[in-house]
């Protein structure tokens, strides 16, 4: 399964809905995609089925930088919290 990124924007807020797997090999693409966005970003994780540690660290960093993580499943949330605590 690959990663699909759908963007919805109202000009001020951009919601990136990620679908599929978010693993280290997809992070470069996601970062590049986010770099081109000028609006405030919210990442919708409701359709993410699998993440790896690099992805969790990336999501934690995004959240620390002000990116909102939406519909984050509990296990990803728990993992983010643990990574942040470690």
């Amino acid at each position: 399964m690959t990663l699909r990124i759908d963007k919805v924007s109202d000009g001020r807020l951009a919601i990136l809905r990620l679908s599929g797997r978010l693993e280290s090999q997809q992070l470069g693409e996601l970062k590049a995609y986010m770099k081109g966005i000028t609006e405030s970003v919210t990442i919708d994780l409701s359709q993410v089925r699998l993440v790896d540690r690099d992805a969790v660290c990336f999501l934690a960093a995004c959240e620390a930088a002000g990116v909102e993580l939406s519909q984050c499943s509990p296990y990803i949330r728990e993992w983010i919290n643990r990574e942040r605590a470690s």
């Binding site: 690959t2 699909r4 759908d6 599929g20 409701s46 359709q47």
Partner: protein, 1400 residues
């Protein structure tokens, strides 16, 4: 009666008669009159008086009359005055109030006078009363007014007794009015001032003259202030002083200021003195006293002036002083005053009178300023003036001599004094005396500087001319105080002038001198002789009228007036009358002469006879008119003066129109600016020429060459410009033709050059179009070349900068073979077909039947279409078009034909080049392919001249095969041979020799030893090449690197051996496995023998080969996928792939991608193309697990695939056909989902072809022991444990348990138990299998029985408890005791937003 008695009687009679007469008379008088007896007894009162009192005569005569008549306050004073006067026998006068009959008192002036008889005895007293009530009233008001005055006003009697003091005076002294009248003077005045004041006051009263004095008056606070007291007498009709009116003005401030001033005066660097009106010194400042070393008393001494004034100056000073005093005017005198040290210094002494209000001099103020330094400077200046070689004389304002310098005195031979005393008058020439003094007097009267010339006789008796200049000297007020005159010897200049005049008279020109405003001053002899005039005739008012030709006079006068007012030199031409009665043309030149200040003082005019020139001009004009060229004459500034007949005839103008000043309108508008720019040369004075078009009278413009040359006078000044105009129209046209010809040649040359430079054809034609556009004005240039069909054309090059887009270039090169439908050029195609040119306009096109042509749509009006002719065919078409309706002329068509020929050459070249390029490309491609093929096949080729033992050809791959780098250049055969393995060299040689010997193809395998020590295996073939004599000249062949094949063959051989070994082993293992499986189940991993299971397996066996779509239903964990796999294995597709998709595990956004695949870039994250599950399962089986969870949009796509067996990848366009068997599975109730609208009914029916319901474990409990045994062994083996027995109780527990998680739960329990199991007996704890207490009323089916609201409450409560988690042991589904998918279905159905519980 005696005579005496009679006289007395008569007298008495007369007296009585007179008295009667008096009484009668007094009754009619307006005055009040009364008569008293000599002793004062009242006798008579006139009627006016009685009426005033309201008395009778008896009342008047009564004794209490006075007490009744007079005001009580006045009575005593009246009686006292009257009695006193009567006693003294004198008249009296008194003012008193008398009571009127109405009780009112009024003031009366009462006068009494005695009437005496002849002996002087008083016989009667006459008294009269005048009503002065009004005067008194006015007096009272005056007193009030006086009291209001801030000044002190005091009234004295004629002899000086105080009568009145106003309120200000009384209050100043702090006295009442009564006290003031009697206050002693010593109490009022400062003791130091009483004497002076009293003296002045008494003197004034005694002389009855006004007087004034300054004195300090004592104020009520005992302080003194200075007052100016002025006394003025009031006289009665007789002139006697009856009152003194004194005003006292406070001058304290002035006195203080004077004191301050005096202190200031003492420090002024002048001496200041104040004298009284008689000249007595009353004040001298400290500086004066200090200068003379005297006290004030010494200065006031009478011999003061004689002591201090220089003896030589004393008389002058005294005289001047005396005159000034007598005239009462200020004066000043310079005199030497002796300083206390005995030195004399020059002082300027000024005296000025101070006058009072009446103009009387009350003071003389004298100031003395030390002018010693100035005097010294004057002495030095005088010495300097004496040294000047000019006569310098100083005069008074009126012209009286004051000074003459030494030069003057020496010239005159007299002393200064003689000169000043007028004893020695300047010896002017007798002819000059009168005019000199007259001019001098006039000049002095004017007050302005002036000068004049006169001859003076020197002491040697000779006269010399002098220029006398007089300049006024003014004081600070601008008033002339003197005149300075200088006399400069101009004898030499005069002599020069005389000589000059003789010279002027000798000049053969007129010479006149005019004043600055043009008045005639001088004329030379030549002029007078010309006119035959005497000098005075020249100054006659009518001289000009007489002299000039009447036609020229107005113009002459006006120009002369303008010239003189302009102040700039000017010249005139006019005819003047000679003494013989003939008029001759003269040129008059006027030049101003300016003084040093730049003001014009003279005009000098010369007149030159130009009659001959004028005649020559007239003749020239006649001549010029006959010249066939245009000739114009202009003045120095370039203004037209004349145009010959040719000009005027050409333009159709008169000479007046030509000279009107706007001749530029005759030029072509495009040439006017250039012509005017060229005419700037007029101001530079250089000859010039220019070309321009002139408008002929018939409306045509013709080109002219204009040449302008200046004509100069003897001084080199330009006086005329002569211009000629030559018709160069023919030359211009020839030039134009030449230019066009040159342009044409240039164009063709450029085109040829471009042709030679091997430009690409399209680029060449574009460049050619740009060059062509320079020569031919057009909008469109197009080149059309044929398509491969040879009939239709395409627009190969379109040069159309302002195209609207209807005409465009069509892509492709000159050799384009593929017809392009874009072009539609029937006109060009007509020319192409016929090979004939077409030249015409838009109407011609329409007549040809061509409509809607792009050129017409572009708005082109005219066109020229020419065939591009090759050697034997038409190669294309050249077309030009214009939006301007100007047709293409023959010149342009000829040029275009030549251009078309050039283009034909270019096209032929391009086609040839293209053919050659294609051939070369083919060759290069062939070589590249060969090289590529050789490289890919590791095959090198060679040619070997065996006789010479030289390598003729050695391909790149041959180099590589032998380990050489082709880039290093050719190698020798020996070098190549050296690389052959030594053991193989013999074989190679033998192979070559055999080929040459037998003239046949040979082959050999050999090894090449590479520099790195590795070995390469080469297979080489060669064949001989024979010449005509059948002799071998070389060997050609190939060498193939077969190292890989060799190595692969070696490896293959080894692998085949290993494969054979493994195959045997695998066969054995396979047999063992099959036996093992068959023992446990008829289907792989489907364990059980229960009836329910068997029923399912029967269905499987039946449906498996049918290739039908199967829908497997059953609770979670019942092994639906195992059933699907079993169907696949039993089907025809078992050899192909079984692809499983868990539809619930894939995000809705990716399910489509997962099933159908996607193209690269179909969405963000689609980095490369990916095959979907359908494609992977092509030929096999696709198992769609949890198919009930498919999102609606995917359901549609899936349905389409099931119907058509075709689909497209996400982001792709290509339809893909697959052969896939679909087996779907779900734990959901799809019928209910269809009813609920969450699952498409058509998809359901498409899937539900062969439904198989897998029973839950609780319905096949018979299989539990077998399953437990199977699972126990599997997990024990996996865990490395050995379990031999299963505890009976455990099996009972297992069978008693409902297993909501079915076999998956059973697996988990067994695995856990195996892990925890320490012995060989398998057992589980009872607590593991205790059923969870379900929520009240819950269960897979119980929820459905609840109402929707209750159901919502229960689900939301469970979600709240599990924080939104649905699946898993701690999830809401487990809490509710229903499958996760069921719960999710209900959540969606009830519209519960499960995510809101995540944060709870």
């Amino acid at each position: 009666m005696s005579a005496g008695e009679q006289r007395a009687f008569n007298k008495a009679e007369d007296g009585q008669q007179a008295e009667k007469e008096f009484r009668r008379l007094s009754d009619v008088l307006p005055q009040y009159m009364c008569v008293y007896g000599a002793d004062g007894t009242p006798l008579f009162a006139n009627e006016g008086l009685l009426d005033y009192f309201g008395f009778t005569l008896d009342d008047f005569r009564a004794s209490d009359f006075q007490s009744r008549a007079f005001h009580p306050d006045d009575l005593a004073r009246v009686q006292s005055t009257r009695n006193d006067a009567m006693y003294r026998g004198e008249g009296w006068e008194i003012e008193a109030r008398i009571r009127r009959k109405d009780g009112q008192y009024r003031w009366f002036l009462i006068r009494g006078k005695p009437l005496r008889d002849e002996e002087g005895k008083i016989v009667r007293w006459f008294s009269s009363g005048v009503d002065i009530e009004d005067r008194k009233q006015a007096h009272r008001e005056l007193e009030q007014l006086v009291d209001a005055v801030p000044q002190h006003v005091v009234v004295l009697t004629g002899d000086g007794h105080r009568l009145y003091g106003n309120q200000a005076a009384c209050e100043y002294h702090g006295l009442t009015h009564e006290q003031f009248l009697v206050e002693p003077i010593t109490n009022c005045f400062h003791p130091e001032d009483i004497e002076t004041y009293s003296r002045k006051r008494n003197d004034g009263i005694a002389t009855a003259n006004p007087w004034e004095a300054e004195a300090r008056l004592r104020r009520k606070d005992a302080k003194y202030r200075w007052f100016l007291i002025r006394g003025k007498a009031l006289r009665n009709e007789q002139g006697s002083v009856v009152r003194w009116y004194l005003t006292r003005t406070d001058i304290e401030d002035r006195k203080v200021a004077e004191l301050e001033l005096r202190r200031l005066i003492d420090v002024v660097p002048q001496y200041i003195r104040v004298d009284d009106q008689e000249g007595k010194i009353i004040y001298a400042n400290d500086r004066l006293l200090d200068y003379f070393g005297m006290t004030l008393e010494e200065v006031q001494a009478t011999d003061f002036r004689a002591r201090v004034c220089h003896p030589e100056d004393l008389d002058r000073v005294s005289s001047a002083r005396k005159q000034a005093f007598s005239r009462g005017v200020g004066w000043e005198v310079e005199a030497r005053l002796r300083r206390k040290d005995g030195q004399y210094r020059w002082f300027l002494n000024r005296y000025n009178p101070l006058r009072d209000e009446q103009g009387n001099i009350v003071r003389w103020y004298a100031t003395g300023t030390d002018i010693e330094d100035r005097k010294q400077a004057e002495r030095e200046l005088q010495q300097l003036v004496d040294a000047v070689p000019q006569h310098i004389v100083m005069h008074s304002a009126q012209g009286r001599r004051l000074y003459a310098n030494k030069v003057s005195l020496d010239f005159l031979g007299c002393t200064l004094q003689d000169f000043l005393d007028d004893k020695k008058s300047p010896p002017f020439h007798a002819d000059d005396v009168a005019s000199f003094f007259e001019a001098r007097q006039r000049g002095i009267s004017s007050g302005m500087p002036f000068e004049m010339e006169a001859r003076l006789r020197r002491n040697d008796g000779k006269y010399r001319w002098f220029l006398f200049r007089y300049s006024p000297h003014r004081n600070g007020q601008g008033k002339i105080t003197g005149w300075y005159s200088t006399g400069t010897d101009i004898e030499d200049r005069k002599q020069a002038e005389r000589e000059l005049q003789q010279l002027v008279d000798a000049v053969p020109h007129f010479m006149t001198m005019l004043s600055d405003d043009g008045r005639r001053l001088y004329v030379n002899k030549v002029a007078l002789d010309f006119f035959g005039w005497k000098p005075q005739d020249f100054f006659d008012d009518n001289a000009t009228t007489r002299a000039f030709h009447q036609e020229d006079l107005p113009n002459f006068l006006e120009k002369r007036r303008r010239g003189i007012s302009s102040g700039a030199p000017f010249e005139l031409e006019a005819r003047i009358l000679r003494n013989d009665g003939q008029y001759r043309w003269f040129l008059f030149l006027y030049n101003p002469f300016r003084n040093e200040q730049g003001q014009i003082v003279r005009w000098y005019a010369t007149g030159t006879d130009i009659e001959d020139r004028k005649r020559a001009e007239r003749e020239l004009q006649q001549l010029v008119d006959t010249i066939p060229h245009q000739v114009v004459v202009l003045n120095a500034e370039g203004r037209l003066l004349y145009g010959n007949r040719v000009v005027l005839d050409f333009l159709g103008w008169t000479l007046e129109e030509f000279l009107r000043g706007d001749a530029i309108r005759a030029f072509h508008p495009d040439d006017r600016v250039d012509f005017q720019l060229a005419c700037r040369a007029f101001s530079q004075g250089l000859p010039f020429e220019t070309e321009a078009r002139l408008h002929r009278k018939d409306g045509q413009y013709r080109w002219f060459l204009f040449l302008y040359n200046p004509s100069r006078n003897e001084q080199g000044q330009i006086v005329r410009w002569y211009g000629t105009g030559t018709d160069i129209e023919d030359r211009k046209q020839a030039e134009s033709a030449l230019r066009r010809s040159e342009a044409r040649l240039r164009l063709l040359l450029e085109f040829t050059n471009k042709l030679v430079t091997n430009l690409e054809l399209r680029e060449l034609l574009r460049v050619a179009a740009q060059s062509l556009r320079k020569v031919i004005a057009c909008d469109l240039i197009g080149v059309f070349l044929p398509h491969s069909d040879g009939q239709t054309l395409r627009s190969f090059v379109i040069d159309f900068p302002e195209s609207k887009g209807f005409l465009q270039e069509e892509a492709g090169d000159a050799t384009q073979r593929r017809p392009i439908s874009l072009g539609n050029h029937p006109l060009a195609e007509m020319v192409f077909r016929t090979g004939k040119a077409w030249i015409g306009n838009e109407y011609d096109v329409l007549q040809l039947g061509f409509k809607n042509l792009p050129p017409l749509a572009e708005g082109l009006k005219t066109g020229c279409v020419l065939p591009i002719l090759g050697r034997d065919r038409v190669l294309g078409v050249l077309g030009l078009g214009r939006r301007e309706p100007k047709p293409f002329d023959s010149y342009e068509v000829d040029l275009l034909r030549q251009v078309a020929d050039q283009i034909a050459i270019a096209i032929v070249n391009a086609l040839a080049v293209e053919d050659r390029r294609q051939a070369e490309n083919a060759l290069r491609r062939s070589e590249a392919y060969l090289e590529e093929a050789q490289q890919l096949s590791h095959t090198g080729s060679f040619a070997h001249d065996v006789a010479q033992n030289e390598i003729v050809y050695w391909s790149a791959q041959s180099y590589r095969n032998f380990g050489f780098d082709p880039a290093n250049g050719p190698i020798l055969w020996e070098e190549a041979r050296a690389r052959i393995h030594p053991d193989d060299r013999g074989k190679v040689d033998e192979c070559q020799q055999k080929a040459m010997r037998e003239k046949t193809r040979t082959a050999v395998d050999f090894r090449v030893l590479l520099p790195d020590g590795s070995v390469r295996h080469i297979h080489s073939q060669c064949r001989p090449v024979l010449n005509a004599a059948n002799e071998v000249v070389e060997l050609v062949g190939t060498n193939i690197d077969v190292t890989e094949q060799y190595t692969a063959r070696m490896a293959l051989e080894k692998a085949l051996e290993e494969n054979k070994r493994l195959k045997d082993e695998l066969y054995r293992e396979n047999l063992a496995l099959k036996e093992e499986i068959d023992q446990s189940s008829m289907f792989e991993e489907i364990v059980g023998t229960s009836k329910a299971l068997r029923r399912v397996l029967v269905q499987v066996a039946k449906v498996a080969p049918a290739d039908s779509t199967v829908l497997i239903t059953g609770e979670t964990g019942t092994g639906k996928e195992l059933i699907a796999r079993a169907i696949h294995k039993r089907s025809e597709r078992s050899s192909r792939a079984f692809v499983s998709v868990n539809c619930a595990a894939i995000p809705a956004t990716l399910i489509g991608s997962e099933l159908f695949g996607h193209e690269k870039g179909a969405f963000t994250g689609a980095m490369q193309r990916r095959l979907g599950r359908f494609e992977l399962a092509d030929g096999g089986t696709l198992f769609l697990d949890e198919v009930g969870d498919l999102p609606p949009e995917t359901q549609v796509a899936l349905l389409r695939v099931l119907q058509e067996r075709q689909f497209e990848r996400i982001g792709g366009t290509q339809r893909i056909t697959v052969d896939v068997r679909i087996i779907a599975a779900t734990n959901r109730d799809l019928k209910a989902a269809v009813t609920a609208g969450t699952f498409r009914s058509d998809l359901f029916y498409r899937l539900n072809v062969f439904p198989i319901a897998v029973p839950p474990l609780r319905e096949r409990k018979d299989d539990i022991p077998l399953l437990v045994q199977y699972l126990t062994e599997r997990y024990a083996s996996k865990a490395g444990k050995k379990i031999k027995n299963i505890h009976k109780k455990t099996l009972e527990l297992f069978q008693a348990y409902d297993w909501p998680g079915n076999i998956r739960e059973l697996q988990n329990v067994v695995e856990r138990a195996v892990i925890l199991c320490d012995g060989e007996t398998f057992s589980v704890e009872e607590s593991w299998l205790q059923p969870e207490i379900p929520l009240p009323g819950l269960g897979p089916n119980s929820l459905a029985r609840l109402g929707a609201e209750r159901e919502r409450e229960l689900i939301e409560a469970a979600l709240t408890e599990t924080k939104g988690r649905i699946a898993g042991p701690m999830g809401a589904a487990a809490k509710l005791g229903i499958p996760r998918s069921t719960l999710e279905t209900k959540i969606r159905k009830l519209g519960i937003k499960k995510h809101r519980f995540n944060s709870v």
